[in-house]
Symmetry: C2
Subunit: 175 residues, 2 copies
DNA sequence: TTCGTCATGTAATGGGTTACATGATTAC
DNA sequence: GTAATCATGTAACCCATTACATGACGAA
């Protein structure tokens, strides 16, 4: 569970857990959570919402949804979590399995840390740190094995990357 | 030029510019340069090499390539740069256009900074910094506009990300 | 009246991974 | 002998972006 591809879906569920939102509004939050340089594209977002709606995780909030043409207001489709969607997201939050520590999945877990059980939070953080340390080791041992010195710049790029996330982990450990 | 999708290709050219290599060996360097968490997959690498070979940027180094079955050694296909490939890569290195500063393309530029003209290097670095600053501003203004406070964690995640690259830029500025 | 933002969607494309298929060599 | 690593490749799939299509609303 929560292996791959579900990252976007989990981020949507997480945001909708806070309160109902329509797609255009969701995008802002998603763009921040996913933390790719660019904004999430509508070509990804809307098909994803349609899929999740068919899957029964989210549903239109009839009360706040506005159909275009009718009334003075703009058309917008407001989604809310279904009970199924809510429990699916809880499962995701509680999951500390291997897939959890993939970069993207970690980012989503991280974004909803405030709503995550403290014990689970720590396990995820520790797993993340272990993973980053392994990564650094692999890079360093690859460097030594081939004995073929990587460009200093590339190495520093790698090292800075690992370092910065480790700083974040430390920052989180202090709360 | 160097717009999209050429990232992997440029990294290959850059590594082959140092000395001829076969695919399996290239992967190690590519994995480090591209700096995704995971290793580059062969399903990406080999088709890419075939494409580049057809395009005339790289060619088999007959002297060191070993066909399987013949002789006591393992089969391996060693590639070298063609003159066309070499000049294509030089063009890429000299390019400081907007596309240059996309995250991935920047990583490749960065990896071959040692072989890049100092003036071009500075322009690329400055552009990168400008881009990162814009990114930070967008994040912050989005935060203020919506007045809907992002989860503290997400915000710190963003901030740390930008910060760490800024530290890298500073580090590079000092040489 | 024109431009920026709000708002939703589809179709084509791109560029990667995974899973599969194969086989030699090296280290234990 | 058997497991890990070396070495190359293909086909199916995943999941994103880009380009396109449409239209209302608010502000200059």
């Amino acid at each position: 569970m929560s292996q791959r591809g579900e990252v976007l879906e989990m981020a949507v569920l997480g945001l909708l857990q806070e309160h109902p939102r329509h797609g255009y509004e969701l995008r802002k939050g998603l763009t921040a959570i996913l933390g790719w340089g660019r904004a999430l594209s509508y070509g990804s977002l809307y098909p994803c919402l349609a899929r999740m709606s068919r899957a029964g995780w989210i549903a239109e909030d009839e009360a706040s949804t506005v159909r275009p043409g009718r009334s003075g207001r703009r058309g917008r489709i407001v989604y809310e979590l279904t009970p199924a969607g809510r429990s699916h997201f809880e499962e995701f939050l509680a999951d500390t399995g291997p897939g959890t520590w993939e970069d993207e999945a970690f980012g989503v877990h991280f974004a909803f840390f405030a709503r995550t059980d403290a014990a689970v939070r720590l396990r995820i953080l520790e797993g993340r740190r272990r993973r980053l340390e392994e990564r650094l080791e692999r890079v360093q041992s690859a460097l030594q094995r081939t004995r073929e010195r990587l460009d200093t710049y590339s190495f520093e790029l790698q090292r800075h990357g690992v370092e910065s996330v480790e700083r974040e982990v430390r920052w989180l450990s202090d709360h």
